[in-house]
């Protein structure tokens, strides 16, 4: 008796919940947002979470700003820049800009920020973002020079994204701890209260500089809360406690969209999934050492089918180890179609006519991993599957303890191949191929400032990686956003929601 009540109850629940509109939001000019994790610190340089990047774009500004649509580098806190030589950059700074606390912005702030970051003792995270310049010099009240360590083609990309300017007087007193509790920047939103890990409140910065390519914010207040459980996030959305959520699972997104009470948008992201094989025998002597086995696995996985049924949205199958929009990325590489018969033949040639058993590690998208396991089973490969938390997964992979794993990489939203291919295949901790030829080409690509030289080098590297199936790229990811119909919001492919461009309808 008791049981039979349960099912109708839940089914009814949603219908009723959706029928009444949201009660928060537009009426009090506050957009309520849920994030699923808490930041270790709201200080831009002491967290590595994507949510940190989102907040960073709202609260601070960089010298430049990359237009998310055209990928052009536009002036922001700098009005212009020029390459003096291949390792020297000069900037003219914008005048009349004020930080949220009233401190005026000038060359001292830029020099202070850049030199603070360049000192490894300050431990800014991640070090890759900040370890490529030697120092910054003040050339005038509104003119600075950045001296690079070596040629670094991705410099503008970094300066228009993760590298934001801090107020020198405030930061030298408050430090990371002070900044974490009371952030001060020049960005379109200013933080009004921080309850660490729990809630951040922001309001529109009225004094935001008019020349910014980001534009002035329109929505008056933004409140960000941490809600870890996705069902709780949805329940909050349905009951009007939250106006905007993201990372909604594909199946959930489809249902919310079908019900028509909320706007659901999907956007492709720079994140791609991959299989990483122990090609060089770093872990052990195992079947993955054989190129024929790696190719067989590539033929065994039904990427198209998995994208259609599970990944969904704007995701596409990718053939080379990078996201198509990234500089240097090319899809003109050897490809592997879904062909289980060919896979079985290759396995037989490699001496495994009856397949083999292999450990298989993953840390996210358990369903995708399961689908691939089923594909592998179909050609005779059985897996000892281990689903780990990311930290444990990363430790294990980087320690060389994984012959075969399924990972993903978001390139920190950096639109350049160096942020992914070089990260994995340049003899790094994640590199299980250690191919000198690939390493050489990537080195050329990473250090040249000549676009043609870079493109050729990356293409050579990507082609070799694909041919040898050192790593097998799977598909790109997408993010689903669900939010109240009162708000107008457009997601961007770099997976950094820009709330300062959102408006009430």
């Amino acid at each position: 008796m008791k049981r039979s009540y349960k099912m109708p109850l839940v089914t009814v629940a949603l219908a009723v919940g959706l029928s009444s509109g949201a009660y928060a939001g537009k009426s009090d000019d506050t957009l309520n947002i849920a994030f699923d994790r808490e930041l270790e610190s709201i200080d831009n340089y002491y967290n590595t979470a994507r949510e940190g990047i989102v907040i960073s774009r709202m609260v601070w500004d960089g010298l430049l700003y990359r237009d998310p649509k055209t990928n052009e580098y536009l002036p922001n806190l700098a009005t212009s820049f020029k390459w003096v030589d291949s390792t020297t950059l000069q900037f003219d700074l914008r005048q009349g800009v004020k930080f949220h606390n009233g401190e005026p912005f000038d060359a001292d702030d830029v020099v202070f920020t850049l030199n603070y970051l360049a000192d490894p003792a300050n431990g800014a995270k991640p070090q890759n973002n900040v370890n490529w310049w030697k120092n910054a010099e003040k050339l005038g009240d509104y003119k600075v020079q950045l001296n690079l360590k070596t040629e670094f083609p991705a410099a503008l990309e970094f300066l228009s994204g993760p590298i934001v300017m801090y107020p020198n007087e405030y930061y030298s007193k408050a430090g990371p701890e002070g900044m974490a509790l009371k952030p001060v920047g020049t960005g379109p939103y200013q933080v009004t209260s921080v309850e660490p890990g729990k809630r951040y409140r922001m309001k529109k910065y009225d004094g935001y500089h008019a020349g910014s390519p980001k534009g002035k914010a329109s929505i008056g207040n933004i409140v960000i809360r941490t809600i870890a459980e996705s069902n709780t996030q949805l329940a909050e959305l349905f009951s009007g406690g939250i106006d905007w959520i993201w990372k909604v699972k594909p199946d959930q997104a489809e249902r919310i969209k079908a019900q028509g009470q909320f706007t659901v948008k999907n956007s492709s992201t720079m994140r791609i999934g991959y299989l990483n094989f122990d090609a060089s025998g770093r872990h052990s002597k195992n079947p993955m050492n054989d190129v024929r086995v790696r190719r067989a696995i590539a033929h065994a996985i039904d990427r198209e089918g998995i994208v259609k049924a599970l990944v969904k949205g704007e995701s596409i199958v990718v053939d080379s180890l990078c996201f198509p929009s990234q500089f240097g990325c090319t899809s003109d590489v050897p490809k592997y179609d879904y062909n289980p018969e060919k896979a079985k033949k290759l396995l037989a040639e490699a001496g495994y006519p009856n397949g083999f058993e292999t450990p298989f590690l993953a840390y996210r998208n358990r369903d995708y991993a399961e689908a691939m396991i089923s594909n592998l089973n179909a050609v005779g490969i059985t897996t000892k599957f281990e689903y780990l938390k990311y930290a444990a997964f990363r430790d294990k992979v980087q320690d060389g303890a994984s012959p075969f794993n399924f990972g993903t990489w978001g390139s920190y939203s950096i639109n350049d191949v160096s942020a992914i291919t070089s990260h994995f295949q340049k003899g790094t901790k994640d590199d299980y191929a250690r191919d000198p030829e690939v390493i050489k080409q990537l080195e050329i690509g990473d250090t040249s400032v000549d676009a043609k030289v870079r493109k050729d080098a990356y293409k050579a590297a990507l082609t070799r990686i694909a041919d040898q199936a050192y790593m097998f790229p799977l598909w790109s990811y997408n993010t689903n956003y669900a939010f109240t119909k009162d708000v107008d919001f457009t997601p961007t492919p770099d997976e950094i929601p820009r709330f300062f461009t959102a408006t009430w309808k």
Partner: protein, 305 residues
């Protein structure tokens, strides 16, 4: 009484030490703590530097005593994830969990004791059956399921309660019910058997024979005696609850120690996990210690034994 207290205190201390040793060793069954601490982009030289700086190259027992010494001074080490001390972090989160724990145990007691008494007065009655049913349900219903169902029913469907967070007392209603419900069956059963036993003793029969009114007999004489073991059980259950709050806090987005524990586990932030295990255990140890003292004070037979 003093001798008994001292003896119990020494035992509690010894238990605390053992627990501290176990939670300390947790750090070492995983990978090298220096690697974990150095983070993603560290070179071998960085890791070696950290190893020496934090003394991970010393014998484990030496490290343990060093850690213990600092733990006694309230320093549980540095979180791998946050840029803060673990003690400060836990101190910041504990009030939420404590509030939830207290409301939940109060809920459990107010639900369980009257039910247990009623069941004992009228064994095999309808109320006894209901009590039994509730208690068996409590053991079989997974807490996360119960929690999510409550959210769907009470906040999405009926709009009676806020879904998540801890801003007002209303926010605590659902978490309290979910967490308290799991402590209730044990308390109820113990109250019931305790009452049954006491009601059948000679002095209650004497009291009844003397013509005292049933409520007086029941509450002034019987319940007072039956409640003794319930006190210590409630203390034990409170200790358990801190552990049980992991799921509840995660679902209801409460930023307490339970949620911190869960997040720290997913982030491999072992010093924090270690600190939380120690703190939760200490709570249990301190609570049972006081429960024992209260029991001994209420029932002199205990301290003589």
């Amino acid at each position: 009484m003093l001798y008994y207290s001292l003896k119990r205190f020494a035992l509690a201390l010894l238990v605390a030490l053992t627990v501290s040793l176990i939670s300390f060793s947790l750090l070492y069954i995983s990978s090298d703590p220096a690697i974990a601490m150095a983070g993603e982009t560290a070179t071998d030289a960085d890791i070696e530097a950290i190893r020496q700086l934090y003394g991970f190259d010393r014998p484990i027992l030496v490290q343990y005593f060093d850690w213990l010494q600092r733990a006694l001074a309230g320093d549980l080490g540095q979180s791998y994830y946050f840029r803060t001390n673990v003690s400060a972090l836990i101190a910041e989160r504990l009030p939420t969990t404590m509030t939830l724990g207290v409301t939940a145990i109060l809920f459990a007691i107010t639900l369980a004791v009257p039910l247990g008494v009623a069941a004992a007065i009228r064994p095999n009655s309808l109320i006894d059956r209901i009590a039994l049913f509730l208690s068996v349900m409590g053991q079989a219903l997974p807490s996360f399921w119960f929690a999510l169902m409550l959210i769907v029913l009470l906040s999405v469907n009926l709009r009676l309660l806020p879904t998540s967070g801890s801003d007002t007392w209303l926010h605590l209603v659902m978490p309290t019910v979910v967490l308290g419900y799991y402590a209730a069956p044990a308390i109820m059963r113990l109250t019931r058997t305790g009452m049954l036993e006491v009601l059948s003793t000679d002095y209650i029969r004497t009291a009844r024979a003397k013509g005292l009114r049933p409520p007086v007999v029941l509450f002034k004489h019987a319940l007072r005696n039956a409640i003794i073991p319930v006190v210590s059980l409630a203390a034990v259950q409170f200790g358990f609850m801190l552990g049980g709050s992991i799921v509840v806090e995660t679902i209801f987005a409460l930023h307490g120690a339970g949620f911190l524990a869960w997040e720290s586990i997913t982030r491999n932030d072992l010093p924090t996990v270690q600190g939380l295990i120690l703190v939760f255990s200490l709570f249990y140890i301190v609570l049972t210690f006081f429960a024992d003292l209260i029991n001994a004070w209420l029932d002199p037979r205990i301290r003589i034994n």
